[in-house]
């Protein structure tokens, strides 16, 4: 069946490794360039990164803090990655996140006095549903009239954000000086991780991290092993062939963008239920947008999203220690983040470095 020149494939593992190498090398180059910048600014890069490492992984509390900061990025990263897989750029994850947070803040109070496991499940489901609903209108517009999702999801982000702004300063405002909602009762919050893993000390890491990791694995499975994921990827790669194969492109688009919205909604839910325990105007530090960078770094691979989110979480967790101990301004982490994004986008550069390094190996593989 195979021709004489066709040899058994040795590409599979090599290709996988190379796929994985690009982000890793990009991160390495970003750290290298940042070191030079830190050096030029008159600081010691080694001390800076040592301090950052200490601040992010130096002990139980630090690891917990990294997990805490990685959690929302995992959800938004997954959201953006799922969209990209279906050929959709959900730039509005931030808005869906706000709506998820709103639903948690509202339901958490409404469900006061009910059993905790029930509340957790209900609030998660509701948050995902409202995130999906927030993406549904842009999805419908995309499917029916071709309105571009970058514009529409962005517009819905503004609507969502200012809706929350108004609600926390008006109808849902709790008594007190600060415009914020009432604090959730304990039965409407996510348990802290250190209750199960004492070594995480008193960190604020919460169950959301575990939910995020499990969800990433689940989404990976959905994309690869279900008809739904298959259709999403098919439409993302080639809508014409998908259509010819009987896949409804509009229906798949709607489903994919809603799934993306649901995932982003969960970021808001877990931030409210696990971290702030209430809703206020600034409860998200742009997690929806950082999620884009996380998805890019992960090359839209859900498993990769876990790693990318932890990296970004670690950068953010370690920034304070870096400023404190090495006296390097914490803003440097934004430079590193920007460089990583830039380098991943400019993937060719990383590929070139890999090729130069791996030339000998490639020649053997032939």
């Amino acid at each position: 069946m195979a021709g004489p020149t066709v040899k058994p494939p040795r590409v599979a593992t090599g290709a996988l490794l190379r796929e994985f190498m690009v982000p890793v090398v990009s991160v390495a180059i970003a750290i290298l360039i940042s070191s030079v910048i830190i050096l030029l600014a008159g600081f010691d890069p080694i001390a800076a990164f040592a301090a950052m490492l200490k601040g992010s992984f130096g002990g139980g509390r630090q690891i917990g803090e990294t997990m805490l900061r990685a959690t929302p990025l995992m959800f938004t990263g997954l959201a953006v990655a799922y969209g990209f897989r279906a050929g959709l750029f959900n730039i509005g994850a931030e808005g869906q996140l706000f709506m998820g947070g709103l639903s948690a803040a509202f339901l958490g109070i409404a469900l006061a006095g009910m059993p905790r496991p029930l509340n957790i499940v209900l609030m998660i489901v509701a948050g995902a549903a409202i995130g999906a609903a927030w993406a549904f209108i842009p999805a419908l517009l995309k499917a029916k009239v071709g309105a571009h999702e970058v514009i529409t999801t962005m517009m819905f982000t503004f609507i969502g954000r200012y809706l929350v702004s108004w609600l926390v300063t008006g109808p849902l405002r709790a008594d007190g000086q600060i415009p914020q909602t009432e604090r959730l009762p304990v039965e409407s919050t996510l348990p802290r991780m250190h209750e199960v893993l004492p070594f995480l000390a008193q960190s604020r890491a919460h169950l959301g991290f575990v939910v995020g990791v499990l969800l990433a694995l689940f989404i990976w499975w959905v994309l690869k092993y279900t008809s739904l994921g298959y259709e999403s990827r098919a439409v993302g790669f080639n809508p014409w062939a998908s259509e010819t194969g009987g896949i409804s492109v509009p229906a798949t688009t709607i489903k994919a963008l809603c799934i993306s919205g649901a995932l982003a909604g969960l970021a808001g839910v877990t931030e409210v239920m696990g971290v702030h325990l209430r809703l206020f105007d600034q409860f998200s530090a742009g997690f929806g947008f950082t999620g884009i960078a996380v998805a890019l770094l992960a090359k839209n691979n859900p498993i990769g999203v876990i790693a990318a989110a932890i990296l970004f979480g670690a950068l953010s967790a370690g920034a304070g220690t870096m400023q404190l101990e090495a006296e390097v301004p914490a803003k440097v982490i934004f430079i590193i983040q920007a460089l990583i994004i830039f380098l991943v986008a400019a993937e060719q550069l990383a590929r070139w470095v890999i090729r130069k390094g791996g030339r000998q190996e490639v020649e053997h593989a032939g």
């Binding site: 195979a2 020149t5 066709v6 092993y225 098919a234 080639n238 194969g245 032939g366």
Partner: protein
């Protein structure tokens, strides 16, 4: 003999798992046309991409004007006087002809592009080589043949002495092919050398001075058209005898499978492309729709396969009304579709062979149950089809984009026929394929017919129509203008009706079609 312009010595190129070029030696002299002949995947394009600096050779050397050269990039190749026109054009559609030609090499005056000088330069080259083209036309609006001419002009503008044409006729109409040949001859008369990559035997016979035949990455022979014939070339290329006429039993017409009644379909511009087409196909019959491209065939096929809305009329498949069915419903009703454009509609190139195999059946058993894909049975079915349809691939896990055109088409056929349809709609099923693959596809289509299936064949190739059809419908401007039984009409007659049967067009048509006629007997 004089020093060759280009000489390849034992050039070797490997891809993971494939030896694409195995110690290939080749020389090109000034003023000659060398045809590089071989099946899809024989390594022709790879070899020329090495010469053009797009790929790095793993071994061997390239000599330009007698001195060894490492051609690092296309820019370097251009500097050495080597130009290449790819199968897929590298033009910028919204720009004008002139802008495209000077792109990357713009004449400037005081820092600004000197459009007047550019236009003059384009006119001059176009005049010198007899390549008529309007320098101010926007490329997007030009027919494919003219776009190709722009590509050639671009290479000439940059001072090409060697022109590599990669499957230049794949996208052309017969008329455009003749024009291209005339252009190639005039270029050679001006002292250029041309490498002509192809798998079409008649082209080699009519245009080449010398033929180099490749198979499985190696040069297997070299000859001159005068010393051989198409059968001889085919034997060298495929490595065995090729039967051009597929043996065919007379059709046995069973129950009516497809019934189309007074169908009207609009095109993108809301103009009526199909204007009242009616016909039926019975089980065990191949009906061919013959016509010149753009006479409503594409719209008819899209309407039939659920990809385009029907304006009026009706279609029934085995009694089921499919007039307004979606693609999925037509598949469920028993229709299989080999699309005209396999890269756009037939395959998801980024998917592996397994994922491509289940496209359309990805929600059905045995590939999926309760929405979960069963990769064990998917792999099993894929492997079986790869074997049954002779798809040449290292494994079922490679991406479809890694296969050659012929193997991609076999994969599409494997999927569509593997579904065991009642009706096969095959649009241009052998476009761009080499003789070996064409023979295979033709045999599969006839085997399907002999199993009692109905087949609708849409083809621009008269030879294909004549070979396969039990009944021929000639379509012109959205209407079926004539029906013939198999063997009833000559190519000339078909051509006459295909072009609208205009009185003064008749003689021309007969002449044109007649010129192509020799190929069938080879």
């Amino acid at each position: 003999m004089a020093t060759p312009l280009i000489e390849l010595r034992e050039v070797t190129k490997r891809f993971p798992g494939v030896l694409a070029n195995d110690r290939v030696s080749l020389s090109l002299h000034p003023g000659e046309i060398v045809a590089l002949l071989g099946e899809n995947g024989a390594g022709k394009s790879t070899l020329m991409n090495v010469v053009y600096g797009l790929l790095d050779a793993d071994g061997g050397e390239i000599l330009v004007d007698g001195s060894p050269m490492h051609i690092r990039s296309p820019r370097h190749a251009i500097d050495l006087g080597i130009g290449m026109v790819h199968q897929h054009f590298m033009l910028v559609p919204p720009l004008t002809v002139t802008e495209n030609i000077v792109l990357g090499n713009e004449p400037t005056r005081a820092g600004a592009i000197d459009f007047r000088a550019a236009r003059e330069a384009v006119r001059e080259i176009s005049r010198r080589y007899g390549l008529a083209v309007d320098p101010d036309a926007v490329v997007r609006d030009l027919p494919v043949g003219t776009q190709q001419r722009v590509e050639i002009l671009k290479a000439l503008y940059r001072g090409a002495r060697v022109l590599i044409l990669d499957e230049p006729t794949a996208v052309l109409t017969p008329q455009e092919v003749r024009e291209l040949f005339a252009v190639v001859r005039s270029l050679v008369a001006e002292g250029l050398s041309v490498v002509f990559i192809t798998h079409k035997l008649e082209e080699v016979m009519s245009v080449a001075d010398r033929v180099v035949v490749m198979r499985d990455g190696r040069v297997v022979g070299e000859t001159r058209p005068a010393d051989t014939d198409t059968a001889g070339l085919a034997r060298m290329m495929v490595g065995r005898e090729v039967i051009f006429r597929v043996e065919k039993k007379p059709a046995t017409c069973g129950d009516t499978v497809l019934e189309i009644d007074d169908l009207h379909v609009l095109d993108e511009r809301k103009l009526e492309a199909v204007r009242g087409v009616s016909f039926s196909i019975c089980a065990g019959e191949v009906v061919a729709l013959a016509g010149v491209s753009g006479n409503g065939q594409t719209e008819l096929v899209e309407a039939l396969t659920g990809l385009r809305k029907v304006k009026s009329g009706s279609m029934r498949l085995k009694g089921t009304d499919i007039t307004h069915a979606h693609a999925r419903e037509t598949i469920e009703a028993g229709l299989s579709h080999v699309p005209e454009d396999r890269h756009r509609r037939g395959l998801v190139l980024e998917f592996d062979l397994m994922e491509n195999t289940i496209l359309g059946d990805h929600r059905l058993k045995p590939f999926a149950s309760h929405g979960v894909l069963d990769f064990r049975s998917i792999a099993e079915v894929t492997r079986r089809r790869i074997a049954d349809y002779d798809v040449r691939t290292p494994s079922e896990k490679v991406k479809a984009s890694a296969l050659s055109g012929g193997n991609q088409q076999k994969l599409v056929l494997a999927r569509e026929l593997g579904r065991d349809p009642d009706l096969l709609v095959a649009a241009q099923p052998t476009r761009g394929l080499d003789v070996g693959a064409i023979e295979f596809v033709h045999n599969q289509i006839l085997a399907e017919r002999d199993r009692g299936k109905a087949v609708l064949l849409i083809s621009l190739e008269l030879e294909e129509v004549q070979t396969l059809a039990d009944r021929i419908l000639v379509i012109f401007e959205g209407r079926i203008v004539r029906e013939f039984a198999a063997g009833e009409a000559s190519d000339e007659e078909l051509g006459y009706y295909m072009t609208g049967a205009g009185g003064d067009k008749l003689a021309e048509t007969i002449e044109e079609v007649g010129a192509d006629d020799g190929r069938t007997d080879g």
